[in-house]
């Protein structure tokens, strides 16, 4: 007897849902806003260079919020990402003002979301209640166990870990970025077990290949071996209930035939992202804010349309997979799309190159693709 085609049937619903939403979001800009560039920690491999103490003025904030929401329109979901520096240093009043500004548009039918990337050391009940009430997504950085984390993150483990658990106990979900470096490379199993046993979703991200902290940078083989090890631990683990990326997101990308799930695998992230500094300066991504040559403009002195149409943005938008020679014959170009522009620039000093971690991605896409296909073939229905 033929079994129910569970997957195929459900994929029709999934695809129409996702495709409609993605269609609606074509051209929508996600602003990454740094209300402050200052940070109360000083992690060894932070990609933010100079950290000034100025806060964003409300006039600049209001202009960013209104310009982006109006540009995106009512059919898109406008997502604001609050970053830094340490964004909680801006204080709760700042975010209350944010929500006030946004509510003026929400009542007219605009759809708005917020996410914040914070080190969590300043989290308190007021912030937690506010984030829950206003549906903020919260992300933090935790590099695995206390020993691994504290070594390079100013002994902040106890506070960060306690606050993750406390936030969760109050109903606030916190996702985690775990930065992989030369130092933490031998501890993949330990890192995986730590997050699994504490039921914390995490993304293993390689340290950005910035020459300021060369001693931490992984080789492409090291990153691939780490990802493969993580994948193998997670893929057959009966006891794992957490999301583990990029393993999960690569599978999703394979199943969705290359619809990108991460900024680094979108063809040009500048189609979707702009970073705003406290003084109104605009950059493509906050990984570039140390490089004056990547400045696109300033929201105080320019209209949002002028920023979108600026020469610098057009120049940066010209980086596509078609302009990267090394990608021309790659079998995974559909999934990878040339990788991160910043990873390319940091290593090759040009954006018209492939991602520094290209070979790691290639090998892990190949490995996961094979594994998923074997699993699916074993589960084919008998007719």
């Amino acid at each position: 007897m033929k079994k129910e085609p569970l997957i195929i049937h459900s994929y029709i619903m999934l695809n129409s849902k996702i495709i409609n939403q993605i269609k609606n979001n074509i051209g929508a800009i996600t602003p990454i806003i740094e209300p402050v560039t200052l940070c109360n920690l000083s992690c060894s491999y932070c990609f933010v260079g100079e950290k000034k103490s100025s806060n964003m003025e409300f006039s600049i904030l209001e202009k960013i919020i209104s310009s982006v929401i109006i540009h995106n329109g009512k059919d898109s979901i406008t997502k604001f990402i609050w970053h830094g520096g340490e964004p909680l240093l801006a204080g709760l009043d700042f975010y209350m003002k944010v929500v006030d500004f946004q509510n003026n548009f929400k009542k007219d039918g605009y759809r708005i979301l917020n996410a914040i990337q914070t080190n969590l050391t300043l989290l308190n009940d007021e912030f937690i209640d506010f984030f829950i009430k206003n549906e903020f997504g919260v992300g933090t950085s935790l590099d695995g166990t206390k020993e691994l984390h504290d070594k390079n993150r100013c002994n902040s483990f106890d506070k960060v870990f306690k606050n993750i658990l406390y936030a969760k106990s109050k109903g606030l979900h916190v996702g985690v970025i775990c930065i992989l470096t030369k130092e933490t490379l031998p501890h993949i199993e330990e890192i995986y077990s730590f997050f699994r046993d504490n039921n914390i979703d995490f993304t293993l991200s390689p340290v950005i290949p910035n020459s300021r902290y060369a001693e931490f940078i992984l080789t492409t083989d090291e990153y691939y071996i780490a990802l493969k090890q993580l994948f193998d631990l997670w893929y057959l683990d009966e006891n794992c209930k957490i999301r583990v990326n990029p393993c999960g997101s690569i599978i999703q990308s394979i199943l969705l035939k290359g619809i990108n799930l991460s900024c680094i695998h979108s063809e040009n992230c500048l189609n979707h992202f702009l970073t705003f500094l406290p003084n109104g300066d605009v950059f493509p991504c906050n990984r570039f804010t140390d490089y004056e040559q990547f400045k696109i403009g300033n929201i105080s002195s320019m209209t949002f349309t002028e920023i979108l149409k600026s020469e610098k943005r057009s120049e940066l938008l010209s980086r596509t997979i078609e302009t990267i020679n090394a990608c021309s014959k790659c079998e995974f170009r559909q999934y990878c799309k040339g990788g991160c522009m910043n990873h390319a620039y940091e290593f090759y000093q040009t954006i018209y190159e492939r991602d520094y971690y290209c070979q790691s991605f290639f090998k892990i896409f190949q490995y996961i693709n094979k594994k998923v296909n074997v699993s699916i073939n074993k589960a084919k229905c008998q007719i």
Binding site: I18, I26, C46, S141, C263
Partner: protein, 75 residues
């Protein structure tokens, strides 16, 4: 065999033609050997989960750029 004929999606970046099934076999989800893959496929199968994932800080689509979801900008 179910067949998917999805619309052509035009984006700023590229045109993705999803004319072919994502998975052109009928499979029994219970026989998938990986619990992780099973979970992902089940999530695909549940419109409520998909909606929640996409609309509320999802790891779907081109949005989702901090630790709360995908974690690409962390440091």
């Amino acid at each position: 065999m179910s067949n998917l004929n999805l619309t052509i999606m035009e984006t700023n970046e590229l045109i993705v033609e999803l004319k072919e099934p994502n998975l052109n076999v009928d499979i029994d989800i219970e026989r998938i050997d990986s619990p992780a893959l099973q979970r992902i496929l089940r999530e695909f199968s549940d419109p409520e989960i998909v909606t929640k994932m996409y609309d509320k800080h999802s790891d779907w689509g081109q949005q989702g750029q901090c630790g709360c979801v995908m974690g690409c900008l962390g440091g």
